[in-house]
């Protein structure tokens, strides 16, 4: 790790300063800044194409920013590769559900325990007792997670064959299995009906407490966030830039937010 | 239609085998050739040739009344297949002897198996001199590259009188590479010229366009004083090179080696190969060939409507080597011994005959050196009025005078 990452800073768990990203001529993210306290649940909303998912890509290192800084737990993680970022404790879900094709749910969960590497290659090849013990433990832990999400009975089904709502849960369970401190949820309720949405919101609140997570929740449908009022604070993005930040109540009054959404609606 | 006729003949052949009656067990000989795959071009000519020869022998009463049965298997131009089929010929079909292959890798793949099972094997058209090193059961029918390189160098230097030549070297073929090496080596020796081949151009098997190489030759021909282009190539390449060379206005003479002697030379080469002199193994008008060989050529022509080239004749020779050896074994030990002897004994006896006798039924009388190389004459043919005709004859003694270093390896 390069030396400049070692300078520790105190304060928020995640701090983003002046992030810029353009693709070709298109400015996807413009001078984006954000600060997230430990244990906070922040909403990130904005109309389609506002650059929310790009922000996630920039945090996790999937895209490299043109300028700006991302600091996580006091460590500069700007432009680190996704696997490093994940290792440091940031997990994310995807808006378009990604299931490992033809893989059982339980195996997908075990894959997500990759980072734990409780045994080494020799243990595998010689089938040491340690390997057996640890594999069993992984399986139990995976089942625990699945039970928590109410899908333990589906452990041996193929992830890609599950209904949409359940796939969302597997996705979040899989992210949790990486034992993150910061969870980035990318439109977790999109494509779900109201009942499923309610259930999922419940789960999100539950895991936040249980695992002591900080969460950023991206949502383009304003009502999900506004109506439930689950977010501690909300950042509103439009055309790649932050236009305002505040609590639910504050934002409901804010003209700029309405304009952004209406403008998008008209376009 | 020709194809259909061919199939019918195979049926007739089956009938002729049936005529012999059941009292004499047929003498089984195996042939492995690449009838499909990259080297299919030559394998098919082997097969056609051997089918004619087998018919001929059986129509004359077989070998001492024993019908001859040749099992032809396809090596698919893959050495692993050659090894496998060699096992099958030896273990399942129980052949007395085998022959086949057209390249050192195929020949040795099969030869190693034959050697291990102590069964004699003759390579049809692989000419790399290291082939017989597989062991004492391995022989080769065609003139090895070192001998041919020497003979061609000698002929070009002494008879044709070209001082400077250029050569097309196929770096993907053992034949082209090795022959080029030997040719240059011996030409230096015979001509007392330190650089008799000032330009060697290379290409690779499957190339179609030789005009870049030819343009290069053309540009340097005058400066280097080139007089002839030597073409030690697979059958398909020499005529194409000739056509493209003439089209580019190159009027150097062409000299071919035994790889070019097929119908494709005239079919593809047309006017461009007119006057081309090339070394080969056979011509119907060479002196001292047996009647059976003339009959074979006649039958071959009648059946397939073209002359057997070097490849067909080599297959015929390889078969005849085995047939004559088996006949000599029966001559010597009697039919009673043949009927009662074990397979291993018959195989060893056949090998011993192959190693020591002089063959009379082959296209020319010849014998093997103790190492397994043939001592045979090189025939020169020329293309005249669109026909391949006899040009000259170099006996083994002619191109291997006393004191010349034969340089078998390296």
């Amino acid at each position: 790790m390069p030396g400049d990452n070692n300078q520790r800073e105190t304060g928020p768990i995640l701090k983003i300063e002046g992030l810029n990203k353009s693709f070709g001529g298109l400015q996807a993210v413009l001078d984006f800044s954000l600060s997230l306290e430990t244990g906070e649940l922040k909403g990130l909303i904005g109309p389609n194409g506002a650059g929310k998912t790009t922000v996630f890509h920039l945090i996790t290192g999937f895209h490299k920013p043109n300028s700006g800084r991302v600091v996580f737990k006091g460590i500069n993680i700007t432009a680190q590769s996704p696997n490093r970022v994940t290792k440091l404790g940031i997990a994310r879900t995807f808006q378009k559900i990604r299931m490992l094709e033809n893989i059982k749910v339980i195996d997908a969960m075990k894959t997500a325990f990759y980072l734990q590497k409780p045994y080494n290659v020799l243990d595998v090849l010689f089938q040491t007792p340690k390997y057996g013990r640890e594999e069993r433990q992984l399986e139990e832990k995976a089942l625990e997670f699945l039970t928590f999400f109410g899908i333990a009975h589906l452990a041996n089904d193929l992830g890609s064959d599950l209904p949409y709502g359940l796939q969302r849960r597997v996705g979040i369970a899989r992210a949790l299995a990486l034992s993150p401190e910061l969870l980035l949820l990318d439109e977790p309720t999109s494509g779900l009906n109201t009942v499923e949405t309610d259930e999922l919101v419940e789960i999100i609140l539950e895991i936040k407490d249980k695992f002591g997570l900080s969460i950023i929740l991206v949502e383009h449908d304003m009502r999900v966030i506004m109506d439930k009022g689950i977010c501690d604070s909300i950042v509103v993005m439009h055309q790649g830039a932050v236009i305002t930040e505040g609590t639910c109540e504050e934002l409901q009054e804010d003209e700029r937010v309405i304009e952004a959404y209406l403008g998008a609606g008209v376009a | 239609m020709k194809r259909l006729g061919f199939l019918l003949l195979v049926f007739v052949m089956a009938g002729s085998v049936a005529l012999f009656g059941a009292d004499k067990e047929p003498i089984r000989i195996g042939m492995i050739a690449s009838i499909t795959g990259d080297a299919a071009e030559m394998g098919i000519e082997f097969m056609e040739s051997v089918l004619v020869a087998v018919d001929l022998i059986n129509s004359r009463g077989g070998i001492h009344g024993y019908p001859l049965s040749v099992s032809i298997v396809d090596g698919q131009s893959d050495p692993a297949a050659f090894a496998l089929k060699a096992h099958r010929l030896i273990d399942n079909i129980k052949v007395i002897a085998g022959f086949g292959a057209c390249d050192i890798s195929f020949a040795t793949a099969a030869g190693e198996v034959f050697q291990a099972k102590k069964t004699v094997f003759t390579d049809i058209a692989g000419t790399t001199p290291t082939i017989p090193l597989v062991g004492d059961y391995m022989f080769m029918t065609p003139i090895p590259d070192n001998d041919q390189g020497r003979a061609v160098a000698m002929y070009i230097n002494d008879v044709l009188g070209y001082k400077k030549t250029t050569i097309f070297k196929d770096i993907a073929s053992a034949y082209g590479t090795k022959l080029t090496e030997y040719y240059i080596h011996f030409l230096k020796e015979f001509s007392d010229d330190p650089n008799p081949v000032p330009l060697v151009v290379t290409y690779e098997t499957f190339d179609e366009d030789f005009s870049p190489q030819l343009t290069r030759i053309k540009a340097q021909a005058e400066k280097l004083g080139l007089e002839a282009i030597v073409l030690p190539t697979w059958p398909r390449d020499a005529p194409t090179i000739a056509v493209q060379a003439r089209a580019l206005g190159i009027d150097l003479a062409f000299i071919g080696t035994d790889g070019v002697d097929t119908t494709a030379l005239i079919d593809v080469g047309g006017d461009s190969v007119e006057g081309m002199v090339y070394a080969t193994h056979y011509d119907p008008s060479i002196p001292g060939q047996p009647q059976i060989c003339l009959d074979y050529v006649e039958e071959f022509r009648a059946r397939y409507d073209y002359d057997p080239g070097a490849f067909g004749t080599m297959a015929y020779d390889s078969l005849m080597i085995m047939v004559e050896a088996v006949k000599a074994v029966i001559d010597e030990k009697g039919e009673a011994w043949w009927d009662s002897a074990g397979l291993a004994d018959k195989r060893t006896a056949t090998r011993d005959k192959v190693a020591t006798m002089t063959f009379q039924w082959t296209s020319q009388a010849f014998s093997f050196t103790p190492e397994g190389w043939p001592r045979r004459a090189l025939v020169w043919r020329v293309v005249e009025n669109g026909e391949r005709v006899f040009y000259d004859f170099q006996s083994y003694e002619d191109y291997t005078p006393e004191g010349v270093e034969t340089l078998p390896f390296k």
Binding site: T111 | D74, A83, L133, A174
Partner: protein, 348 residues
């Protein structure tokens, strides 16, 4: 199942291994030359297919360049296993004395060739790993052709197109199947560990895998290194069975045979690779008598050389149409699974 559980894991292995050794011993003694060679080629193809499956099946690095790896490993080992007189007196290679004047036993030669194959494989992989899909295929295809070209053009070290012969016949049932079982074992074990799961995750969804904390480059190199190590060893075994090595020995056709094996067997399945190897190895050889012509009721059926190759092509297309996931899909063969399936079909 009750009885089985009586054995401890420690006791079960020796019995299984003992049985396998006994079977191999009997086969080695009783099989006639043809079938033995076929059995050995089946073993070599198993090694090639299972190791190719690691890159092509699991990690989705679809390589058709493994022929070049076999060539590199094959030549590296061959230069050391060839008899000294052949290298020095007969073909006269221009090599440093420490290569020219030694002949080493098979095991170190195998390891050496495997390591060289691995190194060459990783050198190929490093620039190629940035590419995806068709571009990766193209680069590996080119790699194959380049290796052939290099082997042809360095006659001082490789003897060029003339190739190398006179190898000692090292390859036998024990080497081939010992290594084949080792590869199968390693593959099956890895599959059930975080390493294998990382390979498969990369193969299925590279970006997701990266977001699971998997270091793509590292694991791709692992996959390539492991696969090419055993591929090179497979090549060396082939060389010391067929006793031949020349630039075109492991052409594209051979690579496609191996690819066909894993596709027929089911990409990603180790047992599928073994089944595919059995089918492809046996197919043309077992059916060969058909194309060679035979007699039925006194009527001679004529030669139809090429028929088996044609049939193989047809069968391959039919399998891909009727069962695109291959025979095993991505599953593995297991006695329990078979029993389950049997009892289910009985119940129906």
């Amino acid at each position: 199942m009750r009885v089985r559980e009586g054995f401890t894991a420690v006791a079960r292995y020796p019995i299984g291994i003992g049985l396998v050794v006994l079977v191999l011993f009997l086969l080695d003694r009783s099989l006639p030359g043809f079938w033995l060679t076929l059995f050995l080629l089946f073993g070599i193809n198993t090694i090639l297919a299972v190791s190719l499956n690691i890159t092509n099946g699991w990690a989705n690095l679809f390589s058709i360049g493994h022929g070049g790896i076999m060539l590199a490993g094959g030549y590296a080992a061959a230069l050391f296993t060839l008899p000294v007189f052949f290298k020095v007196d007969i073909i006269g290679l221009h090599l440093p004395g420490w290569i020219l004047n030694v002949q080493i036993p098979f095991l170190p030669a195998l390891l050496l060739g495997g390591v060289v194959g691995s190194i060459v494989g990783i050198l190929l992989a490093l620039p190629a790993l940035r590419l995806r899909g068709i571009y990766f295929i193209l680069v590996t295809l080119g790699f194959n052709l380049i290796m052939v070209s290099i082997a042809e053009n360095l006659p001082n070290y490789t003897n060029g197109a003339m190739g190398l012969r006179q190898f000692p016949l090292y390859t036998n049932v024990w080497w081939v199947w010992g290594i084949a079982f080792l590869v199968i074992y390693i593959a099956l074990r890895l599959r059930k560990s975080y390493i294998g799961r990382a390979f498969i995750a990369i193969g299925r969804d590279q970006e997701l895998a990266e977001h699971m904390g998997i270091n793509l480059l590292k694991y791709k190199i692992y996959a390539f290194g492991l696969s090419t190590f055993f591929t090179a060893i497979g090549g060396i075994l082939w060389v010391h069975l067929i006793l031949n090595l020349f630039p075109n020995a492991f052409s594209l056709a051979l690579v496609f045979h191996v690819v066909t094996m894993i596709v027929i067997g089911g990409m990603g399945s180790v047992s599928g690779a073994v089944i595919g190897a059995a089918i492809i190895t046996g197919f043309t050889e077992v059916l060969a008598p058909i194309e060679e012509g035979f007699q039925v009721f006194g009527v001679q059926v004529p030669h139809l050389f090429g028929l088996t190759t044609l049939l193989l092509a047809v069968v391959l297309i039919l399998i891909l149409i009727l069962r695109p996931q291959g025979i095993m899909g991505e599953g593995e063969f297991s006695l329990q699974g078979l029993r389950k399936r049997l009892s289910r079909s009985k119940a129906e």
